[in-house]
């Protein structure tokens, strides 16, 4: 145990911009990912605010219908491909995975850097699409609309194609790292649960993303050459596109939520100083989710005209996938029993996650119901549901992880008071914005509507006002986190008294991660045994 903070660490061991741009250190790459992801989140958030502002009353306020359609497409595409899919794996995962494993780096450091630059290239394509007549197809790019609209669909989809490769390489790297770079004694059932969740995530990234790639290739070729597979005017089938798209994009939802669940397992154990309840079941449920998630994509197509037999199979499997998620929630709550609960920022976000993920999950059960989905499909109910899972689940867990590992990454403590204030704003703002949308949706308000019936106006206005509260929360967070980099108190090596390996090294860690290769002799959450 090295509590004496050494003066050199991965941040200051080498200096100059080249030492960052050409670094092979997974920690620096993770940090750069974090920066880009934060920028993307800001951009996507900006579009969200603009969209909600437009929707404060029916008819035109600031934008035309076309501009509105382009903005919701950009909001969706940026938030999905540039923010939420890479958010946890590429930034926190990159930084923490080798540390938790006790490895010096990921298996392929150069591939890791390449994946960062591929991400940047993909982002450039998306930004280019933004200025060159942004796509107005929605992030789902459904044909034949996407193959006939005159906006720049090609640059936007090529951006998503390139980002897919970034995601594949990250996933591939993680799988190999977890298989091959475990130090002596680190058996599979001694892996921290965050590592388990990243492993399950990586499986999906490697198996599903190529199908997105080929779907996009076919869409681009459809526009350029008229390949015709998805174009009904040429004898193709638009529903086949939906199968192709959702074969990736449904598992992608689990690329988003699985690492979030991993963070929650880490945080609840560390903040309660308690060994996680039912470790094996949580670990295996991650794998179960990853596998079953491939077989449920058709629940996006219940009213699309797919065969009713297929719909029934997909609905059945969708219900199966809900069980492992439920198991995790019950295990987390049980972990709290007779713990010693530290109510600092990571735990606050855990509590928020628990509540909002329940709402997202239970509304998911409603949407998986074949008959109920007929009414709710493509309404604001769906919008609210996936925002509860993606923002209330993934993003909140991301924030929890960010606060949990911030001292390790930056070596500074943030202001616990301001963290609480920001948390409060985010909780209130988020629920104002999105709970309202459940009501709108079940009352019949369809999604992707620029204009709407007057009777929906009060609820829309309330939802819009919620986004401002939410925005204030995120701004506060940006300020105190940036402030902590300059003015924060130096962080101890292990501020939470956690037991996983990343806390056994300095904050921030040295470039080689550990002074000596750790030898693992116990399970990851042995809070019972005396700590050194």
């Amino acid at each position: 145990m090295t509590d004496t903070a050494s003066t050199t660490n991965y941040l200051n061991s080498t200096t100059g911009w080249r030492s960052w741009l050409f670094t092979l250190d997974h920690k620096r790459i993770g940090l750069m990912y974090l920066l880009f992801i934060a920028i993307s989140f800001g951009l996507g958030g900006f579009f969200a605010l603009a969209l909600r502002l437009e929707l404060i009353n029916p008819g035109k306020l600031l934008f035309t219908a076309k501009q509105y359609n382009q903005m919701f497409t950009l909001h969706g595409a940026i938030m999905t491909f540039l923010f939420i899919i890479p958010s946890i794996p590429a930034s926190l995962g990159n930084f923490i995975l080798p540390l938790q494993l006790g490895a010096k780096d990921v298996a392929f450091p150069r591939l890791n850097l390449a994946s960062l630059y591929i991400y940047v290239l993909g982002a450039i394509f998306c930004v280019y699409s933004m200025v060159a007549g942004a796509a107005d197809t929605g992030w789902t790019f459904y044909t034949p609309y996407s193959s006939t609209t005159d906006t720049s669909v090609i640059s936007m989809t090529m951006g998503a194609f390139i980002l897919g490769f970034s995601s594949i390489f990250t996933g591939l790297n993680f799988i190999v790292t977890i298989h091959k770079l475990r130090p002596p004694g680190m058996t599979w059932f001694r892996l921290p649960l965050f590592v388990w969740s990243l492993y399950a995530t990586a499986i999906i990234q490697v198996l599903a993303t190529p199908v997105l790639g080929i779907t996009i290739v076919l869409l681009v070729l459809e526009r350029v050459l008229g390949v015709g597979i998805f174009d009904p005017a040429l004898g193709g089938d638009p529903i086949l596109f939906q199968h192709f798209f959702w074969f990736y994009s449904h598992p992608a939802v689990y690329i988003m939520i699985l690492p979030a669940m991993g963070i929650m397992s880490e945080v609840v154990s560390a903040m309660a100083s308690k060994k996680i309840f039912g470790y094996r079941l949580i670990a295996l449920s991650s794998l179960a989710i990853a596998i079953i998630s491939f077989l449920v994509w058709g629940h996006h197509l219940f009213v699309s005209g797919q065969s009713d037999y297929a719909a029934v199979i997909f609905s059945f499997l969708t219900y199966l996938v809900s069980i492992p998620s439920a198991i995790k929630i019950f295990n987390w709550v049980s972990t709290l029993y007779r713990g010693s609960i530290d109510l600092r920022a990571p735990f606050l976000y855990f509590a928020a996650f628990l509540f909002m993920f329940c709402v997202g999950g239970f509304t998911g059960v409603m949407l998986a119901s074949l008959s109920l989905d007929v009414h709710l499909h493509d309404t604001y109910f769906v919008v609210a549901h996936f925002h509860y899972v993606m923002v209330g689940g993934t993003t909140i867990a991301f924030l929890s992880g960010l606060h949990y590992w911030w001292p390790k990454m930056i070596g500074k403590m943030y202001s616990e008071f301001w963290a609480f204030v920001a948390w409060l704003f985010i909780m209130v703002g988020f629920n104002m914005t999105f709970f309202t949308q459940f009501l709108l949706g079940s009352k019949g308000m369809p999604r992707r509507y620029y204009n709407y019936l007057d009777q929906f106006q009060p609820l829309h206005a309330f939802s819009t006002s919620g986004t401002w509260v939410l925005a204030i929360g995120f701004l506060i967070m940006a300020f105190y986190l940036i402030d902590s980099i300059m003015n924060g108190k130096p962080a101890p090596a292990n501020p939470w008294g956690a037991t996983t390996l990343e806390w056994q090294t300095d904050s921030p860690p040295i470039t080689e991660n550990f002074h000596d290769t750790p030898v693992v002799t116990t399970d990851p959450y042995e809070y019972g045994v005396a700590k050194s």
Binding site: L234, S307, Y309
Partner: protein, 125 residues
């Protein structure tokens, strides 16, 4: 790293590779020959069967899966499993899609770029 401490790779004898090559060439001839005879839809099954045998030879001999780590074998073969699931579930829709309406043909004539080859067209001028 000294040159001597190289890892203990099993070097596959040349005869095995030559045998595999011979098998692949013969199978290619067989598949082409069978295709010249018309068995109807049976042709597709035979062609796919031969292709699968050929692919197995390439995978297990040339790609060395036979001698490789069990997990590499598992990983690669599981990709085929997922591909199969993708196929199966997509076709769970495609095969059983609607009881097609008799009116279907009148809905939307497709914009076909194919110039129709009509019998007797050539003799029209």
């Amino acid at each position: 790293m000294s040159q001597e401490s190289h890892h203990d790779h099993f070097i596959v004898p040349t005869s095995v590779y030559v045998g595999a090559l011979g098998a692949l060439l013969i199978l290619t001839v067989i598949t082409v020959a069978i295709a010249q005879i018309n068995f109807g839809s049976f042709n597709l099954i035979v062609a796919l069967l031969v292709a699968i045998i050929k692919a197995s030879v390439v995978m297990f001999v040339f790609m060395g899966l036979w001698w490789d780590d069990a997990f590499n074998r598992f990983a690669f073969l599981s990709s085929l499993l997922f591909l199969f699931l993708f196929f199966l579930f997509t076709f769970a829709d495609v095969w059983f899609r609607d009881f097609r309406s008799p009116l279907e043909s009148e809905i939307l004539p497709i914009k076909s770029p194919v110039r129709p080859a009509v019998v007797g067209e050539k003799s029209s001028h």
